[in-house]
Symmetry: C2
Subunit: 626 residues, 2 copies
């Protein structure tokens, strides 16, 4: 089996090699002449000067009559002046001031007199109520320098200055070539082994947000000559070429070889994680980049490498990302081999930014949709301790993150449903929810890192839920419990219950899938095991941990396990059978400091609403008596 090690070049060095070579190869911004009406958002390639004055003639600033100012001198209430028809011309706003006149009297200041005359009781100064030539812009004035991004108002100013066309930097055309035998176009029904091609959609969205045009090529299978032909076509027509997947060094990874045959490979392997297996190359004076197949890896390369290229092609530096400083909630370990990019959620609570890491898998696109920011851990660092202050690059505006309700704790789909209710009603805040289990909720509320936490913690001595935990963990107070729901926990099994599971004791003879430590459902599992005299070693899969009810259901449906504890609605989605075990109380722990916070109030209001009740009844498995 072929295996070859990649380079491991530090990012800054990789960039220097790449950019210096591209510069020498002649990669530089192109310009084009376009109509000013279509120039909004584009960047000026040259300074623009006014061709004409605006206004280009002396224009009335009012509706009224144009007069010679000296004819009005001395007019007052005691000595009114009457103007004969020959002494004035009626003008509307914007009309030219006729020869001989040099001021305008507003219609509001005119008193009708006999014979078409007007009487006035105050004088006007020369050029009063007249927009003199050049009031707005003077011919020859620079309206905007090189490099200015055209705003709507600036387009207006250019047109006002008689400029109808302007030279702007061309939007670079970026080719995206998706490759891979297993890659299929987006579908709701992929076959086993099919990988849905969504990376090109992600890349296109990113490129367009940076001002480029993107052309997505057809999916090309892992055939060297076909990929090479696509790359050649792209190099002939486009300004930047991206080859998606095949950038590593496996048996079907051809990108590096193809780039070498078309031009030159400058870097193959960057010391970052995710994102290592990237190829930076040049052919025909154009950059050609091999992107990793894993979406998160590819997004990191897009952000760190391709973004700068796209801006450079438009004659400007990429704007620096917005950053905030906040406190890390959980310890992060990082390798000295790589600079690491960790997706994080960011929330502001009690005036402080709190930063929580999200799952780190390179294949997990959903971690990017939940991410509010990226924490970059330097290559020379072994990690970051919980409580340390870190700098985070934001993926959403800080302003949006400031208005975020932070919900954490045990997973229940009802949190998503409440969030959807709030957003449907256009509440002006965002809900950020993370799954850290019931004990995680208690820790987060204690540390002031969340507003609300979902909990269902069984006191195995009293059989009561939540109360005793809160009493023990908050001896001085500081948290209150808000009414939640009752819900049925049970063992999910394949349709028809092929293993014949009837009670919890049956898990000892099948393959089990568990929840993570700290989850309320894990505590329930441990309680049931104890009650049934079972030890972890007796349960196949006790250490096979998942973070959500649906993840457990998905593995049972896929046959990776035979059973697992969870809630009814998850079983229902996966068409699984459900063996009820017990009823529990799922409630919300609220940080007392934020009980009156309008976001918390709105969340609880939506939770207790009729609409929410109806949704839960539809999902099934909830007890909503009180």
């Amino acid at each position: 089996m072929k295996h070859q090690y990649l380079e491991n070049i530090p990012l800054s060095k990789a960039k220097t090699i790449f950019h210096e070579h591209l510069k020498n190869a002649g990669f530089s911004p192109k310009t084009e002449r376009i109509k000013v009406q279509d120039a909004c958002g584009r960047t000026l390639a040259h300074a623009v000067y006014a061709n004409i004055c605006a206004p280009h003639y002396n224009a009335s600033a009012m509706d009224g009559i144009a007069v010679k100012a000296s004819d009005t001198f001395g007019a007052s209430e005691r000595t009114p002046v009457t103007l004969k028809p020959k002494a004035y011309t009626v003008v509307d706003t914007g009309d030219p001031i006729p020869e001989g006149a040099d001021a305008v009297i507003m219609v509001e200041d005119l008193i009708d007199a006999a014979g078409g005359c007007f009487t006035i009781i105050s004088a006007v100064r020369p050029w009063q109520n007249v927009r003199q030539v050049g009031e707005d812009l003077c011919m020859g004035d620079m309206i905007a320098p090189t490099g200015t991004v055209m705003t709507p108002a600036l387009c207006g100013a250019l047109l006002a200055g008689g400029v109808t066309e302007t030279e702007v930097f061309k939007k670079p055309l970026v080719a995206i070539i998706p490759t891979g035998d297993e890659i299929v176009a987006p579908t709701a029904c992929p076959n086993e082994g099919d990988i849905i091609e969504f990376n090109s959609t992600v890349f296109r969205g990113m490129l367009e947000s940076w001002g480029a045009d993107a052309e997505v090529f057809p999916i090309t299978p892992d055939k060297k000559d076909l990929i090479r032909a696509a790359a050649e076509e792209a190099l002939a027509r486009c300004d930047i070429v991206l080859v998606s997947a095949g950038s590593s060094a496996g048996r079907d990874d051809y990108t590096s070889e193809i780039i070498a045959s078309l031009g030159r490979v400058l870097v193959h392997g960057i010391a970052i994680k995710p994102g290592k297996p990237a190829v930076l190359g040049e052919a025909k004076g154009k950059p050609i980049v091999g992107l990793p197949g894993y979406p998160v890896s590819a997004i990191v390369i897009m952000d760190e490498i391709v973004r700068e290229l796209v801006f450079a092609a438009q004659g400007k530096a990429a704007p620096p990302p917005e950053e905030i400083c906040g406190v890390l909630s959980t310890k992060l370990v990082s390798s000295l081999k790589y600079q690491e990019y960790v997706r994080v959620s960011v929330g502001k609570i009690g005036g402080n930014w709190s930063i929580s890491p999200l799952p780190r898998g390179a294949g997990v696109i959903s971690s990017f949709t939940k991410a509010d920011g990226i924490l970059v851990i330097d290559q020379n660092t072994e990690g970051v301790e919980a409580g340390e202050t870190v700098t985070v690059r934001l993926l959403r505006p800080a302003d949006e993150l400031e208005h975020t309700l932070i919900v954490t704790g045990s997973h229940d789909p009802l949190i998503d449903e409440v969030t959807d209710l709030l957003q449907s009603e256009g509440q002006g805040f965002r809900v950020c929810s993370t799954h850290v289990g019931s004990m995680g909720a208690i820790r987060a509320i204690r540390a002031g890192l969340a507003h609300i936490g979902g909990i269902h913690l069984l006191d195995t001595e009293t059989g009561e839920y939540n109360k005793s935990y809160v009493k023990n963990m908050f001896p001085q107070g500081g948290a209150v419990i808000a009414r939640g729901v009752g819900r049925v926990q049970g063992l999910m099994v394949k349709k028809g219950n092929p293993c014949g599971i009837k009670t919890f004791a049956d898990v000892a003879r099948v393959r089990y899938v568990n929840r993570q430590r700290g989850a309320g459902t894990r505590i329930l599992c441990d309680y049931l095991m104890e009650k049934n005299g079972l030890s972890p070693e007796q349960i196949d899969g006790y250490y096979n941990e998942e973070f959500t009810h649906t993840a457990v259901a998905a593995l049972i449906a896929a046959g990776n396990a035979d059973t697992g504890l969870g809630i009814f609605s998850a079983a229902k989605i996966y068409d699984l059978d459900f063996v009820p075990i017990c009823t529990e109380t799922y409630e919300f722990l609220v940080n007392e400091a934020y009980c009156e916070d309008p976001m918390v109030q709105e969340f609880l209001k939506a939770l207790h609403s009729e609409k929410c009740k109806n949704r839960l009844l539809e999902m099934g498995g909830y007890l909503l008596e009180d």
Copy 2:
């Protein structure tokens, strides 16, 4: 002459009337089903749930071999395990895990053995190096709630979850109907009385930035039936209708009457300035707005009224504008009749935001291109004192404004040229220049409101420039003079010098145009008058004040005045003759605290560069010996 007074309804009341009526008339967001690949930037009209798990099968996370984990148990350096060909399947990243296997050993960890066998020296856990079903997304999980704006990564997540189409809010189609007999399409050669139609370009740019599509109708002359027909067509096809100009109450102002005939006028006249003559109406359940003809007035109505409509039509609230608090540099007087919108420039210097008002004329589109923010002065306020702290809505990101070199003082086109040189070279900062005259430069540097100021101040006693002023105004130091240029000041006159002007004494017998108080050229004028024994009363136009050399030249070219003092390059642009009067020293005063600031250094470097010298030689009238 027809004249009718408009209403003067406070903005908040006008909005309430308008929105309540629109709601009752059925104005609400529309939705459409689109491909997820095209959904970037759009807003979800419903929550989206995963249709399938991602991955939807157990997939290898590595290149290597798929095995049964239990076959590897016990493998160590001392007790290596050898796997026969039947015990493994070669897999690449993304390949399905075959029936019976539940783990993958990485190719890097395989040792080739005889007969197609592999030896390993460490065991793998069940599901190690396998992306289990649902690792990224589980079927039934909510991927995003209603109201979420689709990012590139979110489009990817939807596709990964088997969602290929989604319901989003429709982009509202907004009709823009430009009206007016005097309105002409953009041109570099308008006739007298022609007004170039640029407002629709400004509106389109604004609408598109808010997520709408805009359709610009042909220019319609001031004929009631034609405008009515255009409005009817627009109402039939579009979601929001804007009628540009004709919204006041003059003899050619039909918008209000036409809206009344098609539906209902709700507000005609809002207590804001600029922007008062606006019409808010409804017809066929759609908003129809009459926008004032003056560009700045119209932009205020677009921002205050139309923006909210466009967001409402997309099912969301308009995001609040970014704001900063800063110190106002100059006193502002405001009327109790209106809420006033003042365009301001914003700069950060010495860690503080400084706010300077820009020209307030409603016709001055260029003030919007220079504006960094809007200062809203409440209707109940008579004005704001210099030095007061005010809140400003930003028109550019705060981050961009933080990296701004503030240049003020006397007007000379060389400042624009230096700015253009800096921007051409992609310096990572912006230059904000304002014209407040040489004395204004000294005041601004003293107050710490600018980095650099252009000055040319003649000491009438010594005949020397600048030095004595700086010595007097900065007795304790705090400012240094940077080398500038020599330039020729002279009297600009029409080609052929029809009034026969030879010396400054000749200005007493013609119409003069002056510069504003505090300008170096005004001080020169006063000095020359004194030398020639002339008083202000003897000069026709002494109080006719302009802010720039080109503005003076433009008025002489237009015939509004016969002569004025200014620099050669301004005369050249307007093809005027130039009677040289004296040579002066135009230099730059630098706030000592910022001498080492890289922005200041770069500015001076560009100023003293060969490229700048060549530009100045091309413009003419500069002396560049030293």
